[in-house]
Structure formats: C-alpha cells, structure tokens
Assembly symmetry: D2
Homo-oligomer: 470 residues x 4
C-alpha cells in the first residue's frame, strides 16, 4: 500500500515530465493539463518553461499544479513549445531551488530541461565538471546533467546531448527545450517510461500515456531506450542513439504501484497488468474465504483480478475519504490511531462475520496495514488474509524510486513472512512470487528491472554513499 498517507515513508525522487511542440496553439495550457494528468508522479513542485522568440520563459513553484499556476501566469507563458515537470521528494530539502524545469543560458542560447530518474555516477561527473570550473546552486543530479550537456555543447546542442549520454550512467527520461526545438531523451536501459503522442498540428512527449489522453493526443509509440527524438518545424525525427543498451530494464514497480492505471507503458496496459497480477495471486494463493476486498486505491485492480480468478465475490469493504489531502495535522500520540480512520472506514454491514481476503499492492512499514487489520476485526471480520500483488521489497532502488530507508521496511527487518504476518495481525499473509510477477509480461519478462525484489542491478552501483548528495 503505497498511498498518499504512506508516501512519506518511502518513495522519493519520482517525477513526471512532459514536452509539447505545437506552434500556434496554447502550449502552456496544454502542458498544464498534461501535468495535471501526471500529478500522481510528484506533488511537491511544478513548473513550465516555454520557448518563444529566441527566449525561454520559466515559471515554477512549490505545491500542486493547480496551486502553482493560475490563468494569468499561463497567459504570460506564450510560445511555440513547452516542457513541464512535477516533482516529489521525501527529504526535508523541499526547496524551490530543486524544482524543475531547469532553464539556463549557455554559449549558443537558452536551454530548458526536465528530468525523471536518477544518475548513478553523479559524483564522478560533478568532480569532472568542478575541475573545469563549474559551480552548482543545488545538490540535484539534474543540475549536473544540465552542466554536462552545456560542457559538451560548445559546437551544438545535439552533439552535446550525445556526448553527455556517453558519460552518464543511470536512469533518465528527459524533455529538453531550446529556442528552436523540443527534444526527448530516454536512457539506454529505459528504466523510466517516456512516450510520444500526436495532436492535430503538434506533438507531445510525456512520462505516461494518460497525459496524452487528457490532452486529446493519440499515443504513437514509446521513446526507445537510448533514443533521442528531435521535434522542430521540419517535424519529428529520431536521431540514432549514441549507445545501444546491452539489455532493457523497464521498471516493474511502475506497473505494480507508481503509474496511473489508465496508462499504457512500453506496450502494456497498466490496469490489465495489475489485474493479471491479482489473477496470478489467486492461482498461487488459494484460500477458503467469503469476500475479496481491496485496500483502495492501490489494491483495487489486483483485488478485482483475484476475485475474478478465484470466483470469490469482490466487495468494497473499506470506504475511502476522497477529501484526504496530502497533508493533515499529525495527531498527538494518544490519537494517532485516528489517522488511518480519517482515510479509510470499514463497512460493517459488508464485513461482519466474514472471512476476508484483503489485497494490497505492497507492504512498506506495515504499521498502516496493522491498523487496518485491527479495524476489520473491530467490525467483526472473522479471518483476515492479507495478499500482496508484489514480492517483498528487499533492495534499494537507485534508478528513480527511492527505497533507501531500508531499515524501515518490514520485509527487511523481519526474518520471515510468518513474522510479518504476526506483526500486522493477519491470519495469513501472502506475497506474489517474483516468477509469477514477471510471467505477467510473457516473453518480455527479461526486459524488466526487478532489482528491488532480487538485488540484480542492471547498472552496478559502486558506491552507494555517493548518493548522499548533501
């Protein structure tokens, strides 16, 4: 259950990016609507940069897309192309200096960049740039990226991007804006998603296809791992990748939790994948029960798949308060149990006297699940079987989903599934098998990164401490 209230426990550095090329149309509004659709990928800051008349104008701020922008701001962002960014961070350093897009002036003009992912050799790159006299205002890997591209762009920006890709290791899906063109770049492993959409008289690049749907654009295809796309007045062209990946490494966690269910990523419908994970759960874990309920919203699709496969009726046993904001006053110790009740309310008339299969996508610290199990028992549930549509998280992610607080992960601190089950108070606990998970993707299963479950890292991470940028 990686839901809003839980977010502060684990995830960070997720982002969403977008790029719009549509001369004559209202690119700032289109970008705004696209960011709205990508809001789930980052709620801390939002920004839009627009190219017009040889200049790039930028507006960014802390908070949700709807809070940062208003009609006056958007009207001022006139132009033929735009890039946008939403950012999330768990760290205390939620500062405007870290918000994106980054816009800067270099030798031959202006350039804007929006980045989703994590550069793994950032320390090496930063030291190299330092030795050439570079300075940095923030601690983000994105500012290093920007300096690296500028460093290599003394001839032109395209050769700069190509050369930078030779230096960079890690995960990156980028939209880049110049005063002439819009670029889209995806790292050679394809860790983070990035897709191409076609509008009447224009193009859209976005982290997820749900943004295309909102804008009214049609999904054309994904940006290929290692590919560079350029869009300008002569249309969209693919520039040959500077390097070919040895393997693909699509992030499996995007499908389990992070992406929106109505997106199609690298050819797979997220919602269908989730439902199939639930079906696979039902094949692996057979138990006699009365109803299947999800932990909304993160467990809904998998629960539906479980019910479908098992024939056990699906019910909405937990009602979610749709007005829970991202932030609410932390109650004092005495009342902390109320926090979960604020968000979820068990439906006694549905649950009382039943044996219940409760499906969620994953288990983080386990404290929320423990409270939910207790709430179920309080309304008279007889048996609680907790099923998770992913294996235990045992490894940190260095490619854009921050799971660095491993000490807090219940799967890393308890020695067995039985112990976890006991801790959360369930009668039974079942994790989807890694094999079962990957089989959902058929013969493509080898194209996915599942390092957080099996510690098989596609890119070696020599020095984890280097990630501590501050």
């Amino acid at each position: 259950m990686f839901d809003e209230v839980m977010r502060e426990d684990k995830l960070s550095e997720e982002c969403g990016v977008i790029g719009v090329y549509a001369p004559g149309k209202d690119v700032a509004h289109i970008t705004y609507f696209g960011l709205y659709a990508l809001q789930h990928r980052g709620q801390e800051s939002a920004g839009i940069a627009v190219a017009n008349d040889g200049k790039i104008n930028l507006y960014k701020g802390m908070g949700l897309v709807a809070d940062v922008f208003n009609e006056d701001v958007l009207k001022d962002l006139d132009g033929f192309a735009a890039i946008g960014h939403v950012r999330y961070s768990t760290t205390g350093s939620s500062e405007i200096v870290n918000a994106q897009p980054l816009v800067f002036r270099h030798k031959s003009g202006m350039l804007g960049l929006a980045h989703n992912g994590n550069i793994t050799n950032v320390s090496v790159l930063r030291d190299m740039l330092y030795s050439h006299g570079a300075i940095f205002q923030s601690t983000t890997d994105s500012e290093v990226l920007v300096n690296l591209i500028a460093h290599h762009s003394r001839r032109d920006i395209e050769s700069g991007i190509k050369k930078a890709m030779i230096d960079i290791e890690g995960a990156y899906s980028l939209t880049i804006l110049t005063t002439d063109a819009l670029y889209a770049v995806r790292d050679p492993y394809g860790f983070r998603p990035l897709c191409i959409g076609k509008m009447d008289d224009g193009w859209v690049i976005a982290s997820e296809s749900c943004a295309l749907d909102t804008i009214g654009a049609k999904l054309v295809r994904d940006v290929e791992p290692g590919e560079i796309i350029r869009i300008d007045e002569s249309g969209l062209v693919s520039i040959a990748p500077s390097e070919n990946a040895k393997r693909r490494a699509f992030c499996v966690f995007e499908y389990i939790y992070f992406a929106r269910p109505d997106s199609i990523i690298d050819g797979f419908h997220v919602n269908q994948v989730r439902r199939e994970m639930g079906r696979q759960l039902a094949r692996e874990f057979k138990v006699d029960a009365d109803i299947v309920i999800p932990v909304p919203d993160s467990g809904t699709a998998a629960a539906r798949g479980y019910a479908q496969q098992s024939g056990i009726p699906f019910e909405e046993g937990l009602m979610k308060n749709r007005y829970i904001g991202r932030t609410f006053i932390q109650p004092n110790q005495k009342m902390r149990d109320l926090a979960v009740r604020l968000k979820l309310n068990p439906m006694r008339e549905v649950l009382a006297g039943k044996r219940v299969i409760m499906v969620d996508d994953s288990l983080v610290r386990g404290t929320t699940s423990k409270k939910i199990v207790q709430m179920l028992r309080d309304v008279g549930v007889k048996e609680v079987y907790l099923c998770l549509s992913s294996p235990p998280v045992v490894g940190s992610c260095y490619y854009g989903i921050d799971t660095s607080n491993r000490k807090e992960l219940i799967a890393a601190t308890k020695s067995s599934v039985e112990e976890i089950c006991k801790e959360v108070g369930a009668d039974k606990l079942y994790y989807l098998s890694l094999k079962g998970l990957l089989n959902v993707f058929g013969k493509s299963s080898k194209d996915f990164c599942s390092a957080c479950f099996d510690r098989k890292y596609p890119i070696p991470v020599y020095d984890v401490n280097k990630f501590s940028l501050e």
Copy 2:
C-alpha cells in the same frame, strides 16, 4: 452525476455539523477529525467553537478543514466541549461573515450554534425580530435563528430553544454550545440527518455516522425529528420535543447522492440503499449489453447493484484522476472539452466494441454526460445506455439542497426523456421510477421527502422569492 467538478452547477447551502462533549479530552482535535470526515458536506468554510471556563472561543476560515486549521490553532482551542461546521455555497457571496459556527453573547452568557438546513419562514421571523430592534450582519437564516433563540432565552436557553422551535418553519439540524452544555436539535420533519455517538467518557453529535467512525465513537441512534438533546456533566438527556411533526420527511437525496456511502442514516446504510437502487434500476430497465460501468464516484454503488441484479459484468471503464482539486483553471472556449478529460479517462481496452450500460446517480445540466458519451464513442463503444438511479429533478428544494437554478436543469428544459437522450447522445436513457426509488425503503417509504421529484412539499412554501435573502 453530482460530482466535484459539477458542484458549481447546482448544489448549495449544504453543510455538515458536529458537536463533541468530552471533558478532559482533546475536544478540538476530535472535532477537527470529525469535520474531516464530513468534508464532503461543505468545502467553502470550516469552523470550530470550544467552551471553556465560562467562555466560548471560536476559530473559522475560508477553505478546506485541512487548510483552515493547524496544530497551533487547535492547541489554543482548549475546552470540555466543542461544536464544528463545514459549509458549501455556490453563490458569489462566499464570505467569512457567513461561515459558522456563530458565537454570540446574550443576556445570560455565551452561545455557539452550527446549522445545517434552510429556514423557510425566515422573512417573517426577521421582520418580527426587526420590530424588536434586532440587527443583522449577514444575510443567512442561521443568524436569524440565533437572534430568535436569544430573543426567547431571557429566562434560560432551553426554554428559548423550545419557543424558537414553535416559531421556526423549515429544515434544521443544530448543534448548540453553551458554557455548561452541548445541545443537539433536529427539526420536527427530520429533513437533515443528525446522529448520536458514544465515546469512552464522552458523546458526539454529527450530521453523519461516518464522522463517528473516524473519531472512534459508536453510533447510538439518530436524533429524532423534533427532539432536543442536552449533554452536560450529568450525562445525555432527551428533552421532550416542543412540537410533534405530523409526518417525517427524511431527505431522499442524501441517500441518492449527498451523504457518504459509509454512513448509516435513520437506520439505512447509504451504500446498501444505493446498491439497491441499482438493483431496482436493473429490474425496471432490461437491456442487452456487454458491461456495466459507473460514472465514478457518484454512480459506483448503483452500477454495482445493476450488475449484480442483471448478471452483466461490472467494469471500471472510466478512470478518475484522484488529484483533481475542487478548483482548476477554466480553459478557454477552444479547450473546454479537456475539462472532463482531466477528470475521467475512458479505458479503451475495456470499452472498445462493447455495448455499455453507464450508471450515474442523476443528471444535472447534461453537458458533462454529453462529453462522457462522446469519449466512450471515441474509444469504440458500440452502444451507450445511460441509466440514472433517481427520477428527473423537476422541483426546487427549499430544505437545504439548493436546486434553485431550475432553468439550467436538463430535465426542466427538455420536454421528454427522449429529447434528453438525444441531447446527451446516448442510445437509450432511463431514469429510476419514483415508486421504485421509494420502495427501496420498504414500509418507511412514506417517511421521506421527495419534493424535488414530485413537488409534494411537506412544508408549504408561500413565497419563494423570500428565499432570495440578498
């Protein structure tokens, strides 16, 4: 479909009220959590008043509960009892002067009041009070209520409430706070809900039982129509109603749309009622189709009931963006169609080539439904059958749900269901019958007000123009 984006079209003056009596406990925090659970009843303003040491302290502001209050404010609101209020209004006059609770000093002390409902003879009462020299700072019926109670309270507050109830006509569920006690009052018809909960060492009064669940209180019973409840150091007592209603007139619209699905109101589970409405829809309207989909979230329960009764599979065909706030920038005319896409995204892989029964709770202006129908066709839906779990709205409500903009109601402007169907572009359109709707409540069906569907007003409304308070 009376959902957030749609709110500005129709509903107004809905409110949620709460009262907490719990000496020694943190009543402000408890009230805050309760208001959080009632947030769906009003998002324009929020307020809490707390009684302590012979005084009543008040804090209120514009916006959501989470925005109005912070930890420092709640800490300052120390006391043995509290009342709270959330308010919604469509009118431009969203001013702090209209926010509640109202707190005032009268002859024998201080008094706070939170009101949900509409007084129908407010002009008569105001004129009567004017003739005694009263003055008013706002145009709300609640300020009239407060003056009327003060006018009658020269002996004591309880006799003041009783006398006021003889004068007042209309809908009112009240929580009232004095420096000694907490009162709960419900009008003799019981238009608006109000229920009683028990905590360890304390009592809670709330508009809906979902607030009790959040707080961890147990639902004891509803406040009876015409009843006055007093809670003080000697416990909870029911003071005999000053007047008995000729009939009960529970608002049926609370069950159709307004209340939270996890509430139990006057003995009925809201979610079960909604699902039963869907089942009744299926009994009344039989059609050959491939799937049943809801317009989330307002149509979800009824859609599930329809699917269950008809045997046609339930699917989530429209994915909702969970980050849509109440307000977002209105796009310019050219892009207005995007507004619905921001909120709902049709799932092509679920819908393409299907005959679809789409269930919603009601139809307001029809413009949103029209756009959704078009979106369904765009992804390849073959047939769209739009089913509504309520009859056409043909009458204004004068008891707390503002449907005064009748000219905008599609059911009031089109001469037939066929015409409406054509307007929204569906292949078929079906409204639940009034008889079918009321049958859901069994033999209690005569206890409900359905004036918005049949114009049978429990309390005569002599002069509608008097409602125009400004």
Copy 3:
C-alpha cells in the same frame, strides 16, 4: 516619546474615522486616500463601507491601509458616499471581528458606522439591550452603539441617533452611512476631534484636517460638540443637538502627541501648539546648554520651540531610520539594547563634548529614554537635560486613549521627579507644568480635558472595572 516602537506599551483604542459624500465621484478612492492621511491614528485594521443603489458594501481587513486595499477592491466599492475607519489596539484581541466600519441591516434598511472614542456606560447599555433580546458578536463598545441606535430607530434613523445620544455617556466621534445619507456625530463634550471639509461637488468628514488636505478638500469648520450633521442630496444641514454639554472637554493629548502636526483641530494648529509648548518649556526651565535636540519625530516641534525661545541652537542629534516598520523581530534578551539603536542613531560629530537639552513629548515606561541617554553618553555628551512638553501622566484615560496600564507608567511608580531622573540616567529632568500647558490655549484653556494629568474627569467613571469588556 510615544512613538511607533513604543506604542505597544501604552496606547490603545485610538481610531480615525472619515466620511465622504460625493455622488458621481470615486468615493472609495477618496476615502482610501483620506484613511492614508489618518494612518497614524490606527494601524491594526482598516475598512471602507460604500452606499450604492439601496445597499451598503463593506471591505475591511487587518493591517495598514496600503496592505488591506488594492485597486480591484476599490473598484468594486462603487457608490455615492462612503465611510472609513482605521483602528489601533494594544490588546491581544486584534481580531477582524473588532475591525470597523460595522455594517448591519435593521428594520428599515442598512446602516454603516465608524466610531472613534470610548463609551463609559457601556455595561449599563449592554444590559439594557440584553433585556430586549439583543446579542453581540464582539466585545466592542461600538457594537453596543450600533444596537442602541437600531433599538431607537424603529421610526427613523435620525430620531434613533438622537435618542441614543441621550442614553450614551462617554467619548464618540462618528461617521454614519445610510443608503440615502451620510451623518457625522460628535459627543456633547467634544473629546475626540471631527471636522468638516468641502470638495468640489462633495463633502468630507474626518477626524483630522490633514485628511482634507490630502483629498484636496477645504476645512470648513469642526463638528460642534453635541452636533449631528446630515449630508444628502439636498446638501449639508446641522440637526439640533439632542443635548447640550455643560462644558467642552477637548482632549489635550491630541495636541501633545496623538494628532498629526499638520492638522488644525478646534481652531488650533497642532504644530504651532507643540512649538508653543516648547517655548513655554524654555520659559519654565532655564539651563545653560550648548544645543537642543529632539527625540524624533514626537519631540521635534517642541524642541524647535525651546530652541527658538531660549536661543540655544537646534540640532538633529539623533538620526531616525525611516524604514523601521511597526513590527520587527524582538531580539533575544542579550541583544535587546539594539532595538533602540535600530531606530535612532546618535550623531557623534554633533553631540560629542556638548551639554544637550533633549526634548520629547512625554515619558511612558522610561526604558527607551534610559537607553537613549546612555547612547548620548557613549558618543561623549557631557550633560543630558531631558525636557518633556507635558506634565507627568498620573491618571488613566477613559475617553479614547488607553492609559490603563498605569502600573507600567514611570510617573506612577516613582515617587518623585528626582527618582525618575535618576532612573533614566539624565542629569536633569523637567516636565512642563499643567498651567503652562493649558495657557498655550489662552482663554480656551478651560475647554480642555486634562484628566490624565490632574484626574479631573469630565464624566464620572463609576466603575472602572466595567471597562474590562472581556
């Protein structure tokens, strides 16, 4: 020295009022500029009410006039007449509920009121109104005033004002706005100032004539004690006072400190009065010194008068930081001495080696003066003679200048002038004599209230505790 930084020590409940009648002109802007000129009379809140088309619209907020209003707000305040108010309060209860103007609906329409002064029999009046069922939302005497006028206005508003004046005891200068006319009212003693100005095609009423100058209006005369002025489409008329005062009691403290130096009040130029006080000081206190310096800005005029009379050169020995706002971060204990230095800087080249006469208007707690004296000694001043252009404050004011914290007044806690002199560290200390102060006004001297210096209260104050409204 009653200056900004010091304000929090002593003064409260000062206010400034204005009224503008000018059909066809931009009354909101005119009122705004007038309030700007009266800003020194109150910095806590500001408000403007405008009459138009049978209604009165109100806008008020916490803070300075320039912070509360912007162009959009003023544009919305269209009308033929307006009243405005600025308010200051030392109490913690600086809440919007206490801000003025007060606007209310009564039997025959709407009414707005702005009040400067203090009602001394407010408890008696409130009890009387309570017994008629009145309720109050604030603890201000102004709300009592408003209810009293409404109570008496069942026939018409003018007879209501007249009857209310029979009941009310205390100090009040009022501007009152109806949907037809603008009224100006001054209490029978004339404690607080109020004057009449003529514009092209319009009239202005204001606390001080400096507001007329700013607007470009010409001072016609003062509103007479006990007078009621009505301005409407038939022009300005004086309604006979309902009661004649036994004596006049103009506040002498307005001239000493509170009013702006460029105002003319009840026939006296404030700046000239202050300079004459300085001359009288020089006649009373002769000392051999090198220079005369003021404590800016409150002591400047008197210092100039002293220099002129004595022939000792005037110098600016203390330079004032013009950017000191009303609020600045209170330094921690260790650095508290810096607070005075932030505001005033002694000019070593002017002061070193000199015997200095330092003139201020009055002495409150003495702590600031003590620090200034020390600063003078630090830059090498040989002798410091502190002269005050008013007698010691020994009595509280119940008529609109709050001096209730008598325990903090150095003149009330020290037994002799010598002791005070020792406390502040001066070589000599001299207070202007009361006789000398009043002689400045010539044969009008008996028309002034000097109760804060001699405890001769024009209106008996039976029960001081009744002033504690909360």
Copy 4:
C-alpha cells in the same frame, strides 16, 4: 528629490552588503539588524547566508528585511560568520533568481557572495566563461562574478579572487563567505563604499557605518580601493591588492542623496557634507527671502546649511506622512495629483504670504516638484525659489546607480535652466555648481567620480548597449 515615491523614476541596482564574523555570537541576528540599517540601499529583496560546520545555509526573499525574515528563520541560520544583502531594482524583472547573496558549490567547497556595484565588462567576461562551458541561471553581473571567481579558484579561493580582479572592470564592493573565512573586497577605484567595524570578539564589514552603529560596532576604517580583507580565526588581515588604481573615484552621489545621513564614508560625515553643500548653495545663490524650507527628507540637511549660512530662518513648511509605504495604489488619471498630497502637506500657517527658498537634493523628472510648487502657491506662498544641492544630472551612471532613463531626466530634455524653472513653475531655480560641490571635499575633491554631472568617466564604457543584459 530622490525620495521613496520618486524612486521608480530613476534609480536602480543600488544594493547594500554586510558581513559578520563573530564565532559564538548570534551572527544571523547581527546581520539582520545590520541589513535593517542598510534598508535604504535596497527594498526589493533581502537575504542572509551563514557558514557553519562546513556548509553555507541561505535564506532570501522578496520584500523588506522585516518581511523576509522572522524569528524562526533566523534561529535556523546558526553559524560563526554571515553575509547579507539588500537589493533594489526598477526593472520589471524583480525576481527571486536575482536576489542575493548567491551561494554555490565549487571544486573545493561552498562559497557565498554579496555584491554592490556594476561590472562594466560583463559581456566580455560572460563570453569567456561560456567558452569554458559555463551556464547561467540569471542575467545579473553578480552571477558572472561568481563564476569568474570559481573559474580562477581551482587552486584556492584567495588566488581566485585576485585573478578575478585582474579580469573585472567596473564597480564592486563585495562580502564573500567561505566555510572558513569572511572576505571583503572593494574595486580599485572605490566607487561604492565599504567599511570595517570592530565588535567585542568579532568583526563587521558593511556598505555604510550606520550599520555598525546599529550593531554596536566601532568604525575602524574603510576598506581601501583595491583591497582584499580576510577575517578568520587568526584575525583580520589585509591581502595586498592585486592591482593598484590609477586614481580613486568615490561616488559623489552617495553624499548627495543615496547614503544615510548618519554614515561616515571614506572619512566624511554624510550629514555634514550635505549641510556644507547647503552652505555653498547659499554662497552661490543669494536671494531675498523670508524662510528656507526643505523637501523632506532628502533636502533637509542642505536646507539647514542654507539657512545657517544665509541667516534666513529655517522652517518645516512641508509635513511628511510617515506612514507612506513604498507601494500604494496608483490613482486613476483624474486623481493623480493626490499622490504628492498623500506624502507631503504644506503648512499654510508657516507659508502663507512668504517668499520661500525650497531646497532639495536634485531634480529628476520634475513632475513632483511642479506639484509641490503648485501646492505652495495654493496656500499663499508669494515667491518660490527652488535650490538644488547638486548640478544638473546629464550623464548616465555605469557604476551602480542607474540613471539610464535619460530621456526622462528634465535636465536632459530641457535646453536651459530657465526652461526647467518655467516647467516646474518656480520663480527662480538654482543648481549647485560642480566646482562648489567638489570643493566641499577640500583637497580630496579629485578623488571623486562626478561623471553623472560632467561625463568624465573614470572607466571607459566602450559599448553601452552591452549593459542591456537581457
């Protein structure tokens, strides 16, 4: 008259800088108080950077010092040394990205910089840095400065500063903070002021000595033109200047208008210099008049000098509203004349029937003076002689006081003093002679830059258009 209301007409890019080295003391508070004293040098943005424990923390924001900082912010800024900055700009580009101090990470650590002045060869420097791959986020010359120092600091920061000074042309007074030390740098001409103060256990560097007074530090001496000062745990040392100026070029406009009167700059008391300018005016321009009045506050000191020298009595004929903020609502055209009245009120009793010498420091567009002259005539002044304590401004300043809008300068658009006199409506108009102005400084007069009066630029400005940074 270069006063607040007038500011938007002419001046820009003025700044104030400060540096504090005081281990164990509350450096953030000390810096805050110092910035408060320098507030007149910039009101657009304010910032403080603090070095502590190998890091530099920064806080900056738009607005006045008192608005940007609060106690919580200052508490978080713990450290052994700090730098601070206030900035003013007339351009529309008042953005946070331009606020200072600038803090950045370079090869060997972190560095903070606060800059007052203007670099004249910024284009050349930026191009040089571009060719090394540098990028810029703002258009300020200060960011170029920072990159240049970093570029040269690959060995160490001190050699970096020295090398950068060889490259840089123009005006700069800097405070620089590293994680070990505080540096002060002044350009070889000494255009902008910078002085050194001693506290108990600490040192202060500030633009003006008034900041030292506020903090309680003693003025030691000015930083010499071309000098670099280092302060660290081994105390204060002067590092030999990397280049010696051919001549000094202290800005004479600091003395005429910009600096605070209680500052001592390069050995001259500002207030005494201003008074002497007034005396010189009286020697040059003899006229028969009744009184001398200043335009407060900018003309006060010179008016006093004029009165002293001429023997004509000094009077305060214009009363200034002390509550005029920097911003107020611009009245519509019809009411624009009120703007001056808001700020200044002529004292009829002082002025009527008199021949008046009105002294101001300088004349910008002349529109305000024209209104003041008219106001004087309206209250009955017989003759108005306008005297200015500086020569006509005929040249732009490229060294830190922006007078680029020459087209608006009345002295640049009118062909003779007579024409200007006629335009402002005075009976006579007199400008102080340049010779008379410079003679005030005695034999040091050749050490001053007076390019704005005589176009003799100490540093050649090859290409003025290069100043257009955006």
